[in-house]
Symmetry: C2
Subunit: 227 residues, 2 copies
Amino acid sequence: MVPIVSIVGKSGSGKTTLLEKVIAELTRRGYTVGVIKHDAHGFEIDHEGKDSWRHKNAGARTVALSSPEKFAVIKEVSPEWPPERIIASYLSDVDVVVTEGFKKSAFPKIEVVRKANSTRPVCGNDKRLMAFAADFKVSNKFPVFKLEDYKGVATLIEKEIITKHKAAGISLIVDGQKIELKPFIENLIKDGVTGMIKSLKGCSGAKEIELRIRQAEPVVRVTSRKK
Amino acid sequence: MVPIVSIVGKSGSGKTTLLEKVIAELTRRGYTVGVIKHDAHGFEIDHEGKDSWRHKNAGARTVALSSPEKFAVIKEVSPEWPPERIIASYLSDVDVVVTEGFKKSAFPKIEVVRKANSTRPVCGNDKRLMAFAADFKVSNKFPVFKLEDYKGVATLIEKEIITKHKAAGISLIVDGQKIELKPFIENLIKDGVTGMIKSLKGCSGAKEIELRIRQAEPVVRVTSRKK
């Protein structure tokens, strides 16, 4: 539902630096931005010995930290959640999500290429490639922004990604799977549910509705006893 | 919707250690456990200079990290989100949430008291206090578990919190506010939406439904230009 664009490129090309500047520029232009960074090698955010690490190590599936300014949620998953699912569940309240490093995804992409690092792009034949950001003329086929032209990249994202996306819509996840809906069904569900909710006290102006339903079932206990 | 219990107590009483053992014990008994730790003084999870720090510092509202085994989401909020909202949005898939440190919340509570630390409990008059875990007879009014009796505490949570909670139910958040529903309305929405969703291809056995609806509205741009 939230529009997505991915910044891709070889390790060391300068993805993070460009992304940082593009985030700042889009934020300056009034958009709220979410980011997902993909790290195939894993990351350490809850360090050994810290409370969050201890709780997760004890078996907690999800550990959250809450403070007056921010909160963090760390969740064990297996297999890896696709970015679409992370976005639907955790980043649905931003105007645009910029991802870093999902080079095999089906998201529209901007590839960063830096001559001193490598002259061969990784997504040159990707159908979703929109442009390059490079310090040389890496392609004749695609627009090539200068590496430092974060404003140009931000404008491309603004025009092609943010304003073209459908601001309204619904996201439906059933038992952890995202369900694709045809427009007719989407409208049926949207209008039906919105109609129900808007008639509730205090909800007549509802702009964003989140509904979770869990069917009754006995809590399954897997008991293991030592003999 | 997910049942909640809070481990409270003065700083240094041993909350984290007890919580760690209770999590491990509940996990051993087959439950999935989520944790929220409250830190009034803030926490540092994304360290200066790290990519996630750089992105958030550049203005990203929400930053996620994804790897094959886990993901993490860090979100700026102001004012602080109540734990109920964090749970409804981010921890709805566990059997029980154990929180640490929300001593002013309305959750059922277990207070940890350690003589060498302090002999005066902080929640002695709290209506939601269920029990103490202490190394002395801190109360005649409430059950007192020994500090090391994490199995007893786990059994209390299992009996009084997990099995008593309503396994089925719905959670509705409209424009960021949790909406309390009367049972009749809750059933009306639950049955209406479940009926719609179950008729979709592949959804007939739906046990857990997550639906998000965003109404159409133009993306608002706050443009600031330097003169």
